[in-house]
Symmetry: D2
Subunit: 408 residues, 4 copies
Amino acid sequence: MNRKIRYGMIGGGRGAFIGGVHRIAASIDQQIELVCGAFSSDPQRSKDSGADFFLPPERCYGNFEEMIRTESALPADKRMDFVSIVTPNHLHFPAAKAALEAGFHVLSDKPATFNLAQAKELAQIVKATGKLYGVTYNYTGYPLMRQARQMIEEGKLGEIRKVVVEYPQGWLATMLENTGQKQAAWRVDPAICGAAGCMGDIGTHAINLAEYVTGLHIKELAADLTIFLAKEGRRLEDDGNVLLRFTNGAKGVLHSSQISIGCENNLSLRVYGSLGGIEWSQLDPNTMIVTSLDKPKQIYRTGLGYLGSAAGAATRTPSGHPEGYLEGFANIYRNFANHVRAVINGTQPNPLDMDYPTIEEGVAGMAFIEAVVASSAANAAWTPLDYTPTPRAKYGDASLNSDRGGLS
Amino acid sequence: MNRKIRYGMIGGGRGAFIGGVHRIAASIDQQIELVCGAFSSDPQRSKDSGADFFLPPERCYGNFEEMIRTESALPADKRMDFVSIVTPNHLHFPAAKAALEAGFHVLSDKPATFNLAQAKELAQIVKATGKLYGVTYNYTGYPLMRQARQMIEEGKLGEIRKVVVEYPQGWLATMLENTGQKQAAWRVDPAICGAAGCMGDIGTHAINLAEYVTGLHIKELAADLTIFLAKEGRRLEDDGNVLLRFTNGAKGVLHSSQISIGCENNLSLRVYGSLGGIEWSQLDPNTMIVTSLDKPKQIYRTGLGYLGSAAGAATRTPSGHPEGYLEGFANIYRNFANHVRAVINGTQPNPLDMDYPTIEEGVAGMAFIEAVVASSAANAAWTPLDYTPTPRAKYGDASLNSDRGGLS
Amino acid sequence: MNRKIRYGMIGGGRGAFIGGVHRIAASIDQQIELVCGAFSSDPQRSKDSGADFFLPPERCYGNFEEMIRTESALPADKRMDFVSIVTPNHLHFPAAKAALEAGFHVLSDKPATFNLAQAKELAQIVKATGKLYGVTYNYTGYPLMRQARQMIEEGKLGEIRKVVVEYPQGWLATMLENTGQKQAAWRVDPAICGAAGCMGDIGTHAINLAEYVTGLHIKELAADLTIFLAKEGRRLEDDGNVLLRFTNGAKGVLHSSQISIGCENNLSLRVYGSLGGIEWSQLDPNTMIVTSLDKPKQIYRTGLGYLGSAAGAATRTPSGHPEGYLEGFANIYRNFANHVRAVINGTQPNPLDMDYPTIEEGVAGMAFIEAVVASSAANAAWTPLDYTPTPRAKYGDASLNSDRGGLS
Amino acid sequence: MNRKIRYGMIGGGRGAFIGGVHRIAASIDQQIELVCGAFSSDPQRSKDSGADFFLPPERCYGNFEEMIRTESALPADKRMDFVSIVTPNHLHFPAAKAALEAGFHVLSDKPATFNLAQAKELAQIVKATGKLYGVTYNYTGYPLMRQARQMIEEGKLGEIRKVVVEYPQGWLATMLENTGQKQAAWRVDPAICGAAGCMGDIGTHAINLAEYVTGLHIKELAADLTIFLAKEGRRLEDDGNVLLRFTNGAKGVLHSSQISIGCENNLSLRVYGSLGGIEWSQLDPNTMIVTSLDKPKQIYRTGLGYLGSAAGAATRTPSGHPEGYLEGFANIYRNFANHVRAVINGTQPNPLDMDYPTIEEGVAGMAFIEAVVASSAANAAWTPLDYTPTPRAKYGDASLNSDRGGLS
């Protein structure tokens, strides 16, 4: 097959934030092509949005059902290959379900669904349809997070003991949702974004990253969530502190916030094992500190020759040419599209391309959100995560991948 | 009175760590003089240690009882003015009690005592004797921590909402205590250091600093402590994660560790209020980030003219000439000695000199240690702190100081 | 016109570095389309390279003359709008000349030409043809460099006094060019890259950035260039230190290196005026320190609301979502393509879109290279730059733009 | 000898800056005692200053001649052992000469003298009297600068190629000297501070540090000095940029400034050799980056076990307890006093104690100042340094020390 992979977008019309990010991420490597979209529930707005990307009006739909139905009827050489779902959370499940059942692969923004029950149902649908499903826990796309995962898989850090993961922001320190700011408005509305605010929007990214890098799962957690602007009318937590216990006995802490003034998007991860540790901050994503017993700390930098295969495959520029958020996001798109291409071609995918979050992570993410909300409601009682993780393949062990559809 | 303030040291003989720190801290400003010591329970070792500082053998005692008895009998113009206690924890209380009751002021290393009951008893003794008592929660001596306290007192950050305080170290990631390392050995022995390991050694510093800066107190906490090297024989926790609830409704998290490889002495504090925040790390103590709504972050630096009176009074060099751990520690000594001098002279102390930790903080520290241990034993159950804080004076409000003996 | 801007690429076949960067930069905003290329002088290699981007073989040419001739003959609705030149330096001029004279706009990699005489001739050709010409001094595309320029234009820093600009790298600390590394080989060959090595490859970027941000020009310079690996056979300087004197009396220093081991691509710029300064490093491009008299330093961050219009227009993601090298590069492409679109549409371009380097900067860059080489040959004698700068428009002064074709 | 080393201070009365620094530096290790002083040319002010340190009035002199004469007449068990000279520059030479010739060792603030001729004469006096002479180029006292020197001596960085040394400040960006600020006033007065302003005050520190760490000497330099506030009446340069050529063929650049707003005391040093490099900033003195070919950068930190003997001997606290400016300064005092003690005792000094700047560095410093001024006056003509360096001992090679009185 000598053509670009084609996708249609659900959501992401003018004024949206994450839709634009997805489109850039899809475009960077020039291997993926936007061919249609249901950018808005307002048909004219959908067409206007599509025109921004030079899409013909007939492929700009007023809703995803129409898009899926119409695209399904197109000839194979014109039809989209996958859909990208970038709506607010409450629409993720119905859109994914419809697309998968119509035979389209799906790449969805996170969280996978509105609640855990939907996620589990979606997992069944993915399995039943045999279609590919990815969810953009995009921070796993950073080269150095892949390096960290690979180092931990190879035992470089020894047995993992301690995980500190943070995701503070400050943008909701005031009632921004009352000012007409669209991004703020839906993120604080439980009918649209689900049971959690801060934890569903960003805490879930932090936990996903911690599990991705360590290969561990959370066994139970104790969460103390707070709505600091409750008196002003906010209904979902804008801050949370969580104690974590991992399956192997490791301990950890997560704190995440939307009211920590001056914090932008300060996701950071520190992992310490019996032999060493890693320290990384998303604000400086091309630097990772690697520690070890009795030796100077080392500064690992994106793009250098001493990095492993996973980081290398996720890098586009030489060291010192900073890669950022969009490139990390694009790595998820690249991996997913390459997997789609392999499926279309009937070839074996490159194991490194299967390194993207799947429905497995989608379910885990929803289980986290429900656990953290339940724990907090019970005054930070220890609460297990209500799902059973599937063992994942290691980078060097492609044979395990068949069960889970990938490395992720 | 035109002479140096004189002190005797209990503990701190050759091979000790913190004794040397206290001696440097006392020396820096050339206002305090070491005149005697019970440096070791081995009389010869005590004399040898004293000789390192050119003390005459007759003032190097084999135990603190002998020192206190003998010094009490000296003429007033030769006798020590206060004792500095730098022994392992289990001796803090008897040494302090003996000194106070013999009429000497006391400056003790932290924690104040071996357990909370002793601390409460010591508080009574301090009150009864009317002698000054300080405890070296030395990190409050950093100029920028005083700046932070002053800014928060003045309302610059608004209502405090969130506190993140960390104190990871990595030096006990292996069984260092089995190698003959003296510092490690006593810090992991419950008979010497008390009910807590990591939390008693460093976690208490972190909490003290958080309370000092915010002016808040911890209402209750939920702690998950771990002995990661339990199988190897360690008996006290070498790691802990703690959820914090403050008296005003603020929330927080503390994590502290001795097994986080590569971490040196990484105390850090972040505080966020409704108007702004501060971020500070002890590894770079002359820099503090100050955040505020909708404005660029600011970098506050030790020694510059825009800082307040409290930071200014705690600074010895112009900006860009880094002050460090020893100078911060020396600020506690300077404040305490100036207070002693005022008492001797019968004058009113400078309110800024009263900015040192007293028995109030000593009791709070022990209450924290007992609460954190109890909470963890109850599977991280919420546990209140078993003491009643006394309201403290603000920097600008000297009149309140009479009840507590100072600003601290 | 409701279509993407179309371009053809000269150079940039498989194995090249900068060609891929240009293609990503062109793709990110989905407004520009690669339609043809002369990717290699080997026709088959050109076709193979084109196939990587799904170009039809008939639009993959074996040389730029063929490409320009053939594309010129295509109907207007298919023909490329501009050419992107990404060859080694010695081909920049003939390719640009051919394209311009055939009526195509040109966006060229830097330096503009092989020598200053060519650059001056090219300036005449640009003027004569009336076509747009841009040169990818891409570091001016970073949002915070545009912010710095705007602040200086507005007088926020006062009269500029001191400029420190650095560009150390370490990749040529050994004879990498002897190992088959293609990027190294041509960059050290005077027949291909021109009279300078380090200064032509990266020093010119540094000077361009300094002039861009300050709005000043270099009056004269004194340069000490060194070939540290001369004994091993290297023929062009791999290191240089340069004293700078600017037209307004400001002084500065440039140092650039390819043998500073551990340096990646460490372009940094510091500018100090009578009222304040700015400090910026390309390795952390979303942070700029702003200094002012007697106030705390401020941390300006990409994506925040307090930034000016120029930075805002160059930003794609919210603060805390790091934008990197590719996004900065893409800003040059976006500006250039928007200008092309305005020309095609016959409309007035947005002044902010005219903020890209033109032939003016191309000539300045070549004048710098020749001056620095001449000065060093004369033992660091003061050497003026052999060209006359054209006054440039300020951000707020669009009316001046007609003379120079833009803000840049 | 079982007593403290005794010193008298010349200069450093109330209101001075550097005198207080010297006194703290002398006090930190409790091995040196201030016994007398000529703190001010006003006898009463001298006595008042001495009273601050509890000195008896009879040992507070009105001028250094009186002090030297009177102290010389005291019995050996009371007399000062050395003098510390902390006056403005023009008095360094006469005070040092008088003290040496009266048989006292001398530790002087930098620069050694008012001009090079004096320095050469002083070198003869030092040699003739056989007394010890040190000059407080204090930045060589930082543990990591000693580590860097030791690593370079051991060949860890290979042949040194490139040196970048900076010392920008911003405190004289306005006419501070007109505001009554005493520190500013004398530093801009050529009659008091000598031929250079910025270069004599701080540039000389930078060059000394570069030579100390690399073991190289400057062969010639080309300097461009500027008085940015000349119109306002300033008479000495407040900024300078200098090209450097070292004896081994290494190249370098120095820039130093007093008008770079926001810079505090930003001395930094970068050295690159054929095998690796080091990068260090005085603002974060306990961190040094070590680079090497094809490996991750390493972070060397004060106080850790992998450091060499020289850094180890210069460290007082465990890693993570920041040592600062005063401790680095104290290392010069400690080394010097230990050498004095060895001389008094007639024992062999510890070679590590001989690691302090001597008259050799004093002469080099003055030669630098005169060269830089002469070069700038000749429009940045290459100017050699007018003195002949004596080869210095390596850390591991104590036998060479006899010629130069030390490692330095």
